[in-house]
């Protein structure tokens, strides 16, 4: 009746979309600065998960699973082994390399935001955004 493989993979994609929507709501409508930082990290991680899901590849036949893009026995190989590895059995390595860079940059920006929040608390005495707006910050 329905295709169960397609249904499970669609469920994964739709729940990632729901995560994105929840974290964007958390950034805009919650008044505490620390809650905004937590929601920003969740948004960044979900965006990286989208990129990794695109690099996945379904199984060719039900006996041979897909593997990681690492050649494990590299001492005795021949041309047909490399051809089969590159065409059929390995996952795409390029989205993983790009996500590695994205995680480092997101980490650096979030650590800097933590220091900014600390300095704002020392100057105004509160981390509530509505209070700071009332104090004409």
């Amino acid at each position: 009746m329905i295709d169960l493989y397609v249904y499970f993979l669609t469920l994964v994609m739709v729940s990632m979309v729901a995560n994105t929507a929840l974290s964007i709501y958390g950034i805009f409508f919650r008044p505490s600065m620390i809650k905004k930082i937590i929601a920003l990290t969740i948004l960044g991680d979900t965006a990286n998960t989208f990129a990794i899901i695109i690099g996945y590849k379904r199984w060719v036949n039900p006996e041979t699973p897909v593997t990681t893009p690492v050649l494990l026995n590299y001492t005795n190989i021949n041309k047909t082994y490399i051809e089969e590895f590159a065409k059929m059995r390995a996952v795409d390595p390029l989205p993983q390399a790009l996500v590695l860079t994205a995680i480092v940059i997101g980490l650096a920006v979030n650590l800097y935001l933590v220091f900014l929040t600390l300095q704002t608390y020392r100057l105004y005495g509160t981390t509530d955004v509505r209070e700071i707006r009332r104090l004409r910050g």
């Binding site: 329905i2 993979l9 469920l11 590299y74 590159a86 590695l100």
Partner: protein, 282 residues
């Protein structure tokens, strides 16, 4: 409490129902089993993933390969090395920005008495922090053979100074002579080594009188019909062991740089609030 449970059940029912509707209607996106089919434009076999996976360890033709059986590390440090260079710059700028916000610090004086948590926790920490650093160094050194590399090992090794800062206190660090300046020096040495290894082939080419690229690992063949060959390369095997040219040195330098960078951030966060309030400027 009741509002949370009702909201959660409504959200889950929406997700399951919506994906059921999508999979029945036939409009979805999942990874395609024939997404590696070659196109007909340049005579087939030009998919990017296929090329990266084929030429990551190809000892028959050493002019297009990296000679490292790990595809992701080869892409990060050789095929797309310039991306990693600028990412390191962004990380460095963030740490400098955080250091600039921590000015106005007067002298930290140490109150008398015992610091830190109880003696059981201190003994366990003395054992486990050595283990943590060992495992992280193993991950960083084997980055070209197994999954791992410089950044993975560095961020796993940054957990050990965090543990020591929480369980012993910051006065322990200052007594032993580990200050922010020392960590900044270590980080700068790591970044200088990365820069030197990146232009090492160029320097060898200048000395020998031939031309070479920046970020070059093995020999290359340039020219429209493949007639010009650049023979400068770093050794890929040392005494029979595979080190893949520049990748091994990059991993070691990145390990030290990342570990020192995280330690600076933690030491800045652990300063007690009293040192900022009484007379420390704005």
């Amino acid at each position: 409490m009741n509002r949370d449970v009702i909201g959660l059940i409504v959200l889950l029912a929406l997700i399951i129902g919506f994906s059921l509707l999508l999979s029945i209607a036939g409009k979805y996106y999942i990874p395609n089993p024939e997404s590696r089919k070659p196109t007909e434009i340049f005579g087939g076999n030009n998919q990017l993933a296929y090329l990266y996976l084929k030429y990551t360890y190809y000892p028959n033709d050493t002019s297009r390969t990296v000679l490292s059986p790990e595809a992701v590390t080869a892409i990060v440090w050789d095929f797309r090395g310039l991306d990693t260079l600028f990412e390191t710059t962004v990380f460095y700028l963030a740490i400098i920005g955080a250091l600039a916000l921590g000015r106005g610090l007067i002298k930290i004086e140490k109150p008398v008495g015992e610091h830190g948590l109880s003696i059981i926790v201190k003994t366990v920490t003395r054992l486990t922090s050595v283990l943590i650093v060992t495992v992280a160094a193993s991950i960083a050194l084997h980055g070209h053979l197994t999954p791992g590399g410089g950044f993975q090992g560095g961020s796993a090794a940054a957990v050990a100074p965090l543990l020591i800062l929480i369980i012993f206190s910051i006065y322990y660090f200052l007594e032993k002579g580990i200050s922010k300046t020392l960590m900044l020096i270590i980080r700068s040495i790591g970044l200088i080594v990365i820069g030197l290894v990146a232009i090492s082939c160029f320097i060898i080419g200048v000395i020998q009188g031939s031309e070479a690229f920046v970020f070059q690992n093995q020999r290359k063949i340039v020219g429209v019909y493949g007639e010009h060959s650049i023979e400068v390369s770093l050794p890929s095997h040392i005494a029979g062991e595979l080190i893949s040219g520049t990748l091994w040195f990059f991993n070691i330098a990145e390990f030290f740089a990342v570990m020192a960078g995280f330690t600076i951030v933690f030491m800045l966060l652990f300063v007690p609030e009293k040192a900022f309030r009484e007379g420390g400027g704005k």
